[in-house]
């Protein structure tokens, strides 16, 4: 898991929302994961400071929260770029050349999987089957799905988000 050194700048607003979420799940069995999922939605990621709030409010030890955060691929401790570039490496995409596609994206952006560009614009996230295997190989940029791709199309697609 990559831990970022970008300074935390959560707002009071975000904190109020998080406290609301925690209150909603009070007393429920197995509530930690849903709380963390909603917290990540509020902040975009789960830095130590957010984990600490969850721990303080629920009484769940911080070690346990950290353990859960590092176990699941969905939780991220570093912030994402403005546009997340998800390259599907599911089997259907892989056998149709998704590996080469990822190489090209990494080359174009100068970053690797799980990293964010210095200007905060793009980050790369490898994912497994987005369910559009009919369009393989597939890549998602900022929520827009692109299918039947070849590496030479990457540059033009990324340019749309400049």
């Amino acid at each position: 898991m990559k831990v970022s050194n970008v300074p935390f700048n959560g707002t009071k607003d975000q904190e109020a929302k998080l406290l609301e979420v925690i209150a909603k799940y009070k007393g429920q069995k197995g509530a930690l994961m849903p709380i963390m999922q909603e917290a990540q939605e509020i902040y975009g990621y789960l830095p130590y400071q957010v984990q600490k709030i969850i721990s303080d409010e629920t009484g769940i030890p911080i070690e346990k929260i950290y353990g859960v955060a590092t176990f699941y691929a969905q939780f991220s401790m570093s912030p994402k770029g403005k546009y997340v570039v998800s390259v599907c490496l599911g089997t259907a995409c892989y056998v149709k050349g998704a590996g080469k596609l990822l190489e090209e994206v990494e080359k174009q952006l100068g970053i690797g999987d799980g990293e964010c560009t210095a200007d905060g614009k793009f980050s790369i996230d490898v994912c497994r089957c987005v369910g559009a295997c009919g369009l393989a190989p597939v890549m998602i940029v900022g929520g827009d799905v692109y299918g039947k791709l070849t590496p030479d199309m990457v540059e033009g697609i990324l340019a749309k988000y400049e």
Partner: protein, 625 residues
Amino acid sequence: MKTLQEIKDIQAAKHGQIDIRFNPDTAEEAVKTYVLVCGGTGCTSNHAAEIIEELNKLIDGAAKRDEIQIIQTGCQGLCAKGPILVVHPGNVFYQEVRPDMVDRIFDEHILGGKPVEEYFMIEEGADGKDIPYVESAFYNDQLRMALRNCGKIDPEDIDEYIARDGYQALGKALTEMTPDDVIQVVTDSGLRGRGGGGFPTGRKWAFASGDRGKVQKYVACNADEGDPGAFMDRSILEGDPHSILEAMAIAGYAIGANQGYIYVRAEYPIAVDRLEIALKQAREYGMLGKGIFGTDFDFDVDLRLGAGAFVCGEETALMTSIEGNRGEPRPRPPFPAVKGLFGAPTVLNNVETYANIPQIILNGAEWFNQYGTETSKGTKVFALGGKINNTGLVEVPMGTTLRQVVEEIGGGVPGGKKFKAAQTGGPSGGCIPASSYDVPIDYESLGKIGSMMGSGGMIVLDEDNCMVDIAKFYLGFTVSESCGKCTPCRIGTKRMLEILEKISAGRGELEDLEKLDELAHYIKANSLCGLGQTAPNPILSTLEHFREEYEAHIVEKRCPAGVCKALLNYTIDAELCKGCTKCARNCPANAIKGEVKQPHVIDAAACIKCGACMDNCAFGAISRK
């Protein structure tokens, strides 16, 4: 809260709107014109939403607006040709619909009654003649039981589900059957788990059925669908979510549980949305909640979102994850039927397993077990992908051969390439080679040839796929997904991956194959959970069926499929080279030398095998071997 009679009344009232979509040839005259647009994940990613928006805009201004209904369905199956739009009456299929085609379809067909033949979905038959989609093998060779409603009803409207006998199986179970009767019917049907293991569902329920009403129990649904490249369960949840809720309530009645959990991947936003809508509607109708159908049976269902860990598909890990922990498996026994979720007896079934339950209760065990083979009853849904023409969702009776699925329903391998193998069972499964093309698809036959039924992913590989590379792909997956709890899996899979990497880098030795074999068997025997126990399968099955390909990598330092980069050699044919210098200008490694109008040469030592030169040569002078 609705009574069983009220449910039947809704069904009767809806009949005229539904029948035309299921029985286009025999249905009475349609009440309206129905326009079905696929809203599964595949088509949604492919601008289906814009098509619906466009239709809605057009319909707003149309005179006959009350006679037309636009319905966003779940996956209709033929994802490769999406987005799909179907018009009833007439059962007319349009494929690869673009927003700019909607105008004509709307004016000429929907309003004018005259189908736009130019846009018809057709398939080229064996004799070269066009066959309409509805008569094609893709459509006709399937048997849709678990997918019976997918792509044909509005998954966000409980009444449409009710029109298809929805919630009547629950009504029948609660009012006419004892819990033991229910278990007996499921047992007699021969239904086995569709999540991969193939355990008899009725037996599982029976194990958890003791002490009804005395202890807390749970029913859970495994919608984690971890196999990367599979989307069967997602499609059922997106296309027919109520069938799962109904089945879980039936399971709850059978074992004496009043709470259910669906563990669904957070990466499935459409499925989660539709489930939430379905839950709300089911509660409003009293199909979930207290005193269902006026009996004293209470049952409700909650969603839990998985957070992207393959191992959480394993049953004990799934339960630890629902409890809010790191999803690490724990030893069995105790089995979940004895000690499952929060320590209580729990029944966990796969989505597709549940999807079969309501029909079994309504139609009886004999109806179900007339389909399939001696030991594998009913049907199986597959997500067909990879090098295949009709990528999509298919459902066939057990016992159908692999050849039928790939060649007939799947439309064969594109581009005139040769079928090399089909991979089933994902990271836990294996490759079925062309020599076993006629193997019947059932639990036992697939196991015998070193693959497995799995949960339904089926990836077709052609001559351009390297089997060492495929094994490496799956091992890379299991290494990153191993939870790390036990050593054979955590370290053993890593060692196997390293050996594979060595082989594909051209540094392999023949004894590596023995080492792989030995490690594989050790890991299988000593891992705690199914992930580790099955992780070596992709290697074992490719070693068994494609050993000569491994040997070519090791002995001849050659990748026959031309995939493993380190083993490729780019050369320029001096006869064909015109000396245009284009390759040299495009080479990122400056590995190409030559004067203008003179044949160029590649310096093999400097070449990084990127392939740029070959892509750029206009004269086909560069080859890869």
